[in-house]
Subunit: 145 residues, 2 copies
């Protein structure tokens, strides 16, 4: 711990944000490197490079998380990209803002629909499950089958 180091710590040049390799992200989120490269090809990620190798920042990591969550909710990569683009564009013209609101509105409706679907399905799963368990008990007790 000398003066130089301390100075470095507080200097702007020392902003070593943690970075990730493609393999790391691949493990963290349990996706293949192929997928991650594909998302980049589709314009959803743009990591920096160290020579040839891709270097992902924390921002990139967050982006990937967003992509995957979108996927789980049935968003296509194109939709997610559009959202990203709208979100990123800081020119934010009136038209863009309205498009954004339109999109959020639409997505919100979809999510509400999904909530409904999930509720219904949960109830059905419960019924099926208890029916199954009942029958299993019958089998185990009386060896009826």
């Amino acid at each position: 711990m000398n003066v130089v180091k301390q100075t470095e710590k507080h200097s702007a040049s020392n902003k070593k944000e943690k970075t990730y390799s493609i393999g790391e992200l691949s493990k963290v989120f349990d996706v293949t490197p192929r997928s991650i490269r594909f998302y980049e090809e589709q314009g959803l990620l743009s990591p920096t490079r160290s020579g040839q190798t891709r270097v992902y920042s924390k921002k990139d990591k967050v982006r990937l998380k967003l992509i995957l969550r979108g996927k789980r909710l049935g968003f296509s990569l194109a939709e997610t990209r559009t959202l990203f683009n709208l979100y990123d564009s800081h020119q934010n013209s009136k038209i863009q803002l309205q498009a954004m609101l339109e999109m959020t509105k639409e997505k919100r409706a979809l999510l509400i629909q999904q909530l409904e679907d999930i509720n219904v399905l949960m109830i059905e799963l419960n019924e099926v499950e208890s029916r199954c368990q009942d029958e299993l008990e019958q089998i185990n007790k009386g060896k009826t089958a």
Copy 2:
């Protein structure tokens, strides 16, 4: 309202369950006939026939609803078919029942994950939306842009 009609209303021979054509179902659920035929091809539906023409019962209609709800929640047709098969098989061997329970458990976990995703996304959408609205107000008030 004469006696004859009353008798007919209560007679067993008058069980004309409502049926549907492929076109009707197509409109009701807003899917193409092609899709409905495809679901049949994949073993998810088996309507009766009147000559060549497909005739769908209420049960078939329910099935279709289930298929579509499954789709909205990210189930593949194959998965939904498996669920149908498990549910239908009234032989219900121990192994089948356990497979069913396994499947419901897995699906339940997925649904819970989706609920989480939806919550997070809803919050984010709220933020984005109010930010957009703020900016729009700015534009409309001061013509700042």
